[in-house]
């Protein structure tokens, strides 16, 4: 921001400053000032292209090798139900001691399998790549015609 005029008389009259509020129940170190600005956070965050960001959003890490492999598979519809049953049972058995939510387990397995069903996830990603290539071609063409892009 350019420095023009600095502070002025009217500003001195109208600007106010009140002490920070202290009636908040929060306390401890986490309540103290965070020296990193939002721009610092942004600079330190991964520099993803829009396409990379979309892929990252569409392809969550399931923290499990089998699931991460399955989403890239082409699952036929007749194997959907048996596989759902097997994976849910397996997950429940493995997490019996952790008291893990069954609903969460079913939702997670269901998500993985619906992504893999008929290779939908891979097709979605390929379509995204395709549309990106198409839009790049269109941009190049527009530039050639002097239409911007």
């Amino acid at each position: 921001m350019a420095n023009v005029g600095n502070t002025d008389e009217l500003w001195e009259q109208l600007a106010t400053q009140e002490p920070v509020k202290t009636d908040d129940s929060s306390n401890g170190d986490s309540y103290s000032d965070d020296e990193q600005s939002l721009e610092d956070y942004e600079r330190d965050s991964p520099n993803l292209s829009d396409l990379q960001y979309m892929i990252k959003t569409l392809s969550p890490d399931f923290k499990d090798d089998v699931y991460n492999l399955l989403v890239k598979a082409r699952l036929s519809p007749d194997t959907f139900k048996p596989l759902l049953k097997i994976l849910v049972n397996d997950e429940i058995r493995r997490n019996r001691r952790n008291n893990k939510s069954i609903a969460k387990t079913v939702a997670k397995v269901y998500t993985v399998l619906t992504m893999a069903l008929d290779g939908k996830h891979i097709i979605d990603l390929l379509e995204a790549f395709g549309s990106k290539a198409d839009s790049s071609d269109l941009d190049a063409m527009n530039r050639g015609l002097g239409l911007g892009g």
Partner: protein, 213 residues
């Protein structure tokens, strides 16, 4: 998130209720003030304006009626249309909470929305960065959506946690997504501050309601 393409120094912050929108907006104001960073002194070269009450920094409370009042005031006493005029509302940052009040998409031709539009379209000349906060970008008037060069989407995945996830989209830049702790910003504002309708609007609505009964 829709792509941003504007050239103005204009930021739109969107998100659900309780999603950390105001926290993010206030945080940008505090970051610009410099009080949260060594040597913890406010940068007096940047004027801070906000239509909500801010604590701990020197700023000017500037709701819509005050904005209209000071819109054409200059620092050096010259008429606002003089080439050497230095506008009073300028050379700083203006945080505008609840942007749908004053810049409502459905009232784009109203006189108060025209004021905001004038401010936005000539923000570069005023050296003014404007930050609009709104629950949904479609609630904001078209000019603002078109001119914004930065779009920040806020999300609090866990409502019991102060961690706010921001997705930042800037013109000509890649999308960035990161988390920050909103707790250190809460002391600078009150999250329940209302932005009421003007008495004139309420009186008009009251008259209409009364006439209908």
């Amino acid at each position: 998130m829709v792509s941003v393409q504007g050239k103005s120094d204009l930021t739109i912050i969107t998100g659900d209720m309780g999603g950390g929108k105001t926290t993010t907006g206030v945080r940008k104001l505090i970051d610009a003030s410099g009080i949260n960073k060594f040597p913890y002194k406010q940068n007096t070269n940047i004027k801070l304006f906000a239509n909500l009450h801010i604590f701990g920094v020197r700023y000017m409370y500037l709701p819509l009626d005050k904005l209209i009042e000071y819109m054409n005031v200059t620092v050096n006493g010259l008429p606002i249309n003089h080439p050497d005029a230095i506008p009073f509302i300028g050379n700083g940052i203006y945080l505008y909470d609840e942007g749908s009040q004053g810049a409502n998409a459905r009232e784009s031709m109203s006189s108060d929305t025209m004021v905001i539009q004038n401010l936005v379209t000539q923000s570069r000349k005023r050296k003014l960065k404007i930050i609009f906060i709104s629950q949904d970008v479609r609630l904001l008037t078209w000019e603002i959506r078109k001119l914004a060069n930065e779009w920040i989407e806020c999300e609090r995945k866990n409502k019991n946690s102060p961690i706010i996830t921001l997705t930042v989209k800037k013109v000509g830049r890649n999308t960035h997504s990161f988390d920050f702790n909103g707790m250190s910003t809460w002391k600078y504002f009150r999250s329940n501050e209302l932005h009421p309708l003007s008495n004139a609007r309420l009186a008009k609505a009251y008259e209409r309601a009364k006439a209908g009964n």
